[in-house]
């Protein structure tokens, strides 16, 4: 007889929702969270696409601690001396279930944990799970500090830097080419200042990604997300490539803040937190087995994250995976079989959902980015040169556009340009 039906390691998006689903179904659930409160160890860029949360909590808009509804999608190509931005907004971004919000994990994870607790889940905070308890190949519980606790199913939702997935399912530490590091600062500014500077209505804001000079031409990019009364600003860079850069990531962040395109946005703002987090970006090919005997992996511990340069997603995958993990665990408990085969419904549910379909779809994209460094160097410079040709007026007689633009294109090479576009399309 186990101490609990289910033990969940980690109370982030996946863990809290898995706990909620199990508790709702009347199962005994223990959540062990190493932070002193949910969210204490967690960080996001970040923006949450709401469709998955809406499935679990249809009325989340009235309750969840959301920051700003994202009504502006901005993408910039940046060189040290220029910045080219696309700003997109549309009414379709305002439809519930296909909209997105900026969030901060301190408040979001606290709300999710409250939901799980209210549904009946037990919580232990402030204790890291150091080891799993195993019976042969089967995971039967956890060790936390002096204590050992057993459960019929253990759900690992302990994040991108899980130290338990190797023991659980034999997952080897991921390579530096499949992982990125993110650094972020939260910079406080009055709500009205944020709205004025981003041309946003009250309660609305922007998600803004930068390619090029933010990472000094290295694989990755910069980001800005507007919160209610702060801006989340940071850099994400692929670890293996960053390891050979001339500039450390924290200096990249400082230089990005001083770039003429960004400095006015955060002028007068006060940095209140400096955070770091890893981002899995290898897609389906880098994922561990999602179940083992007595164990399920969900969220970033299973590398459920996608970084496409113009879009970074992880939390909606984690929420959907947490929901399916909880529901599949309930079914397996009811059937009295929590072996890998008994928990197979979880894998099937994910295969049928957007989660594994997306991770499969985008699995070639990180390799495309790494092997196409022109995205981070030549193309931002090309755009600068072309835009200078288009917009700068100095009294020199104007040449036909075709003639004045061709040298810029030739700098890159038409063949290279076509090849990169083709490769990029194929990887998406």
């Amino acid at each position: 007889m186990s101490d609990f039906d289910a033990i969940i390691v980690g109370s982030g998006c996946a863990g809290a929702i898995a706990a909620y689903e199990l508790a709702q179904a009347g199962k005994s659930v223990l959540v062990v969270e190493r932070g002193n409160y949910a969210g204490a160890k967690n960080m996001t860029g970040g923006r949450l696409y709401t469709h998955a949360l809406k499935q679990v909590f249809p009325n989340f808009e009235d309750e969840a601690p959301l920051e700003r509804r994202i009504t502006h999608e901005r993408i910039s190509m940046m060189t040290p001396d220029s910045n080219f931005t696309i700003d997109f907004s549309s009414d379709d971004m305002l439809v519930s279930g296909q909209d997105s919000y900026s969030v901060l994990r301190g408040s979001l994870d606290g709300w999710l944990a409250d939901k799980a607790e209210a549904a009946g889940a037990d919580y232990i905070f402030g204790i890291p799970v150091e080891e799993l308890v195993k019976d042969g190949n089967r995971v039967v519980g956890i060790k936390a500090g002096e204590d050992e606790m057993t459960a019929d199913v253990v759900i690992l939702c302990d994040g991108a830097n899980s130290l338990l997935t190797k023991e659980a399912v034999g997952f080897e530490r991921p390579r530096g080419s499949a992982m990125a590091v993110g650094v972020k600062q939260v910079i406080e500014l009055p709500a009205s200042v944020i709205e004025d500077r981003l041309l946003a209505n009250e309660g609305e804001g922007a998600a803004w990604l930068f390619v090029g000079d933010a990472t000094k031409g290295h694989v990755g990019g910069g980001f800005v997300y507007t919160n209610k009364e702060s801006v989340s600003l940071g850099i994400v860079a692929t670890i293996s490539d960053l390891a050979s850069a001339d500039t450390p990531i924290y200096q990249m962040l400082e230089d990005m803040k001083a770039h003429p395109a960004i400095a006015p946005l955060i002028k007068g703002g006060k940095v209140v937190e400096h955070s770091g987090h890893m981002v899995p970006e290898g897609g389906r090919d880098m994922m561990p087995p999602l179940v083992g005997d007595g164990v399920i992996l969900a969220g970033e511990s299973a590398m459920m994250c996608v970084n496409l340069g113009y879009m970074v997603r992880g939390m909606d995958y984690a929420i959907a995976a947490g929901m399916h993990a909880g529901r599949s665990a309930v079914a397996a408990l009811d059937a009295g079989d929590t072996s890998a085969a008994g928990l197979g419904g979880y894998v099937k549910a994910l295969e049928e959902s957007f989660v594994l379909k997306d991770l499969e779809q985008f699995k070639r994209f990180p390799h495309f980015m790494e092997s196409t460094t022109r995205i981070f160097n030549e193309y931002p410079a090309f755009v600068r040169n072309a835009m200078n040709t288009l917009f700068i007026v100095d009294g020199t007689p104007v040449a036909p556009l075709k003639k004045s633009m061709m040298p810029h294109v030739k700098n890159i090479g038409i063949i290279n340009l076509l090849k990169d576009v083709w490769k990029g399309m194929k990887a998406l």
Partner: protein, 98 residues
């Protein structure tokens, strides 16, 4: 690295964070006399700038401001990082915003 201009003092930013530092036990340990090329990787990738090389080329590492992201474990887990664990109960970084 010596030709790279570091203008930022990350320690000042870390001072804004909330930490409970475990003075008793280091949760990350390096091998003795770590290989310089590997150490320089960590200088570049650690978002908390905990891996430092001074003007004389002397290396130093302090786990106290660790953000627990695990990037050093991924970058150098099979070279110069000897031990990587999470800080003990209730210890380490405590994000208020996240």
């Amino acid at each position: 690295m010596s030709d790279i201009k570091i203008t930022v003092n990350v320690d000042e930013y870390l001072a804004l964070n909330k930490f409970e530092v475990d003075e008793e036990q280091a949760h990350i340990e390096l091998v003795e006399n770590p290989d310089m090329a590997e150490f320089l990787k960590l200088v570049r990738v650690c978002p908390a700038a905990l891996y430092k090389v001074d003007a004389e080329g002397k290396t130093s590492f302090d786990y106290a401001g660790c953000l627990e992201c695990g990037t050093c474990r991924i970058a150098c887990g099979d070279t110069i990082i000897k031990k990587w664990s999470f800080p003990g109960s209730t210890m380490g970084i405590e994000y208020r915003y996240g």
